[in-house]
Each structure stands twice: as C-alpha cells, then as structure tokens.
Symmetry: C2
Subunit: 286 residues, 2 copies
C-alpha cells in the first residue's frame, strides 16, 4: 500500500506531480524538498506537498517512492547519494529529459536484490518557463510518459510492486505510458523535442537580430510567428543539461535540418518545393 | 456612401472579409465570385456574400470597392483585366502576401486621374488550411493589416474617399493598419511570416522521414512539437506564388537560419549556447 511519497525538486514538474497525485485521489503523505526553500513553501501553499523537507536524503529515506524532479546533473548527483542509504523496499524514479546517463547510473547503483529500485521516467509535458507558480494538476493529461529499464527496476525485492504502483498513478494523472530503450529514447526525443526547441531558439534569436529594433513589426507575424517562437522563451537553465547529455543526437538532428532548409532554399522555384510541402503535409495528417 | 462591394475569390480570406464586414455592420451589397462556383455558393450560404457573380469583371464593374482575394499571380491577372474597364470612381484592393509585383502593377495600371484607384493590402491573418468552410468573422480581430502605396491610391478622382472608407472598414473588422514601402514589406514578411512557414515545412518534412514510420511516437512531442509543425499542414498551392514572388528575400532569410542553426550546433557544449538562449528570450519579452 503506497502511503509515503517524496518529491525532490518542486519546480514546474515536481509541483505538478504533487497536484496531479492529489487530483487523482492519492491519500498518503507527500514530502517536498527544493534547493530553494521558497519554491517548496509555494508548493506547500498550493497543496502539492504536505510538508517541506529540510533534507532530500532524509525525505527519501522516509518514503516508499521518491520522485527526482531536478535538472539532469542534479538527478545524477542525488542518485549517487541515495543509492547507499535506501533499501530494497523503496523505488526512485525521475522526470529527466534525457535517459542514457540516468539509465547507466540506475544499472550501476540500483536494481539489485539489496538495493532500491530505479525506474527512469520522462513525462513529455512542460511549459516554456519553469517554477512552482505555474504548476498544473492537468499538466500530464493527454501527455505521453516515457519509461526505460522497466524490467531492471523490477529486480529488487519490492521493485515489481512499487513500479506497478507508480505506473498506475502516472496513468491516473492522465498520461499514457510508453516503454522504450534508453538509447532509442534519447535519439527519438532529439527529433521530436530537442530539435523543435533548438529550432525555436535559433529562429527567435535570428528574428530578434533582424526585426527586434522595430517593435511595431514584431506583432505583425500573428499566430504563426507566435507559435514558432513561443519556445524561444525557454531559459538556458532548463536546456543546458539536455544539450550536454544528448549532444550527438541533437547535433545530428540540427545538421539534418540545416541540410533540409538548404534544399528547400535551392528549390524555391522548382517542382522540388511541391515535394517538400507534400512530405510535410504527411507528418500532420494521420 | 459605400454601398456595393465585390469580393473576387471566396476562399478563407475572401469569405472571412465578407463575414467580418457583416459583423462590423456593413449594410450594402456584397457580390462574390470564385473560380470554383461551389466555394462561392458556400460563402453565400454562410452569409458572407449576397449573390454569386458569374463573372469577376462584371462584378467589379458594378461595385465601388473590389477586393481581390485570390493567389498572387491570379491577382496580377485580374489587375490587368480590370484596369481598363473600371473608372476613377472605383477602388480595387487586395490581400496578397507579397507586395512588390502587385505594387508595380498598381503603379503601371491604376492611380491616374482617369483610372480606378488601387490600394495594395495584406492582412496578417490566416490558417494553415484554406477554404470558405473555415472562414471566420473574427479572423482579422487583433491582426495587423498592412498597406503599401496609400498616397498613390489617393490620386484618382475618388481615391482619397474610397481609400479612407476601406481603411475604416478594415479597422471596424478589428485589424490594426500599418503602412510601409512595398519593398520593405516583402523583406519584412520574409522574416516574420515566410521564414516561419518554410521552417515549419522543412521541420515537418524531416520529421516525417525520421519518425513517420513510428506513428505511436509522433504524439510524444506534445504541445511544443504540435505548435512547431502546425504550419507543416499548409498546402503548396497557398505558398507557391509567395516562393516565386519573394524568392530573394526568402533565400536570404533561410540562409541566415541555416547559419544560425549551425552556430548553435557547434556551441551545444560552450557558453555560446547561453548567449543564443538569452538573445532568443529577448524576442519573446516585451
């Protein structure tokens, strides 16, 4: 029976998990910790957590499931610290945007009969800004929640039960789960998540240079321009760890887009432009 | 007193103009013509026009203001045909996405004391698909409606009055007008409209190639991916004339984005990535 959850990191994702668990009917206790205590107090006021934990290690020790909702390098750091203090009746899971390094750390540090279970997770939900103040109980509704290494996480004494519990809550929060290999995960999100973000960043930065000095013209583009640049507001702090931990796959995706744009540019007046539009139309069909 | 308007082309924009005029209180008659009579009948059923005109030239002859809402090359063709049959008590305006060629034709064929006035216009509103069926009386609400050559259009006998009338109706439809030079217009929309479209097309086409065969993963990207690829649904037929009539400015914008993406790619692990995010953040501020 799942009664004690800890959320380490009460930013947008961590706080939204707390709110979503409550909205889905979770009746146990939720302890929350955040590096900046102010954000944790905000999560408390919003009802996402029941108490502000002064120490992340102690909060995790006292819980059956611990959710790491911090940047990727901080996740790896907490994984190291928690591995030796938690036991086989406990599960740690995360919400990080890249999975290769986290999966490797999980194999190295968790998922033995004596140790806690670790289930790498990645909800495909977010906003272009972070922070508890914009957390939302419905953030995961209709979203996909990716998992890797499910089988490995079931190896510890209580792993199978706890993994099953957590996956059920994820479903109750409104998300649809998909399992995939961690390497495949990182390549795939490079295409469907990281490439769109870095494209919006490059496009926004370029447009700031070209039309930023004519603010009356910034609004001319309308909805199309707003959509294509909304992610340009994403802060570096949210994306640094992603760029550092999925560099090769992102490089490949960016280079492919550069080549695709060049081909389109060279075909503005040829029948090749029609082919490109028809191929693009297909992506938006089904 | 403005009593007779003709709308030549009852696709998304033309039909929306009719609906918006009615919603704004226009009490006169609106004749509508479309190359495919079926679309014109739909506009009639929707209340955007009062009658389906069998012939565009006759419809324009019988009207004080004629709105050309057809693709750019069709606009140029109609401008030729109408120039010699209309008189100085009449105004022709358009909604085309590029203005250099249309402005040149306007100077050559209109805006003399004996001829009709021509006011090049461009509402920055639309959808990723066309057609009367998705027309909307609120399409122009909050949008910018660009004009070029306003002074030239006022030169014909009734030009000043008719131009003033039309601009008032555009404002009543909820749009904000901005005047600019036609060359400046084309360069500017290459950045804020055409570049975002062609980027979405290239991104969508690339993603179709990379993940199109795994339909369950297409939904993984969530809202961010949906936004960045929505314009990928835009059909070639809507963009061909734009690519052909604003080639150089679009080429420059695409090349600049290719270079920007390459720079970002080369800086995924350097402090240069922070600079790029900070520059992008600025575009989304104010």
């Amino acid at each position: 029976m799942l009664e004690r959850i800890a959320i380490l990191g009460t930013g947008l994702l961590g706080t939204s998990v707390g709110l979503a668990l409550r909205a889905a009917g979770f009746k146990g206790t939720i302890a929350g910790w955040n590096r900046s205590a102010e954000n944790a107090r905000l999560a408390l006021e919003m009802g996402a957590i029941d108490s502000v934990a002064p120490d992340p290690i102690e909060a995790a020790r006292a819980s059956q499931i611990t959710i790491l909702a911090v940047p990727i390098y901080s996740t790896l750091d907490l994984m190291e610290k928690l591995a030796t203090v938690l036991g086989p009746e406990q599960l740690v899971t995360d919400v990080g945007s890249t999975k290769r390094l986290i999966s490797e750390a999980g194999s190295r540090l968790y998922n033995t009969p004596e140790r806690a279970a670790f289930l790498p997770g990645h909800p495909m939900a977010g906003k272009e800004r972070g922070g508890a103040s914009i957390a939302d109980a419905d953030l995961f509704r209709g979203a996909v929640w990716l998992f890797t290494d499910d089988a490995a996480a079931q190896r510890s004494a209580s792993g199978a039960e706890l993994v099953n519990d957590w996956r059920e809550w994820v479903t109750k929060m409104g998300a649809r789960t998909i399992d995939l290999d961690p390497m495949r995960h990182d390549v795939m999100v490079a295409w469907v998540s990281h490439l769109p973000q870095f494209t919006a960043t490059a496009l926004s930065a370029l447009l700031e240079e070209e039309v930023g000095s004519a603010p009356e013209l910034k609004h001319v583009g309308g909805r199309a321009l707003r959509e294509m640049t909304r992610l340009g507001a994403s802060p570096f702090s949210m994306w640094r760890d992603i760029a550092h931990t999925n560099t090769e796959a992102v490089e490949r995706a960016l280079l492919a887009l550069e080549q695709r744009l060049a081909r389109l540019r060279e075909n503005l007046r040829t029948p090749g432009l029609r082919d490109e539009f028809e191929q693009a139309n297909k992506f938006r069909q089904e």
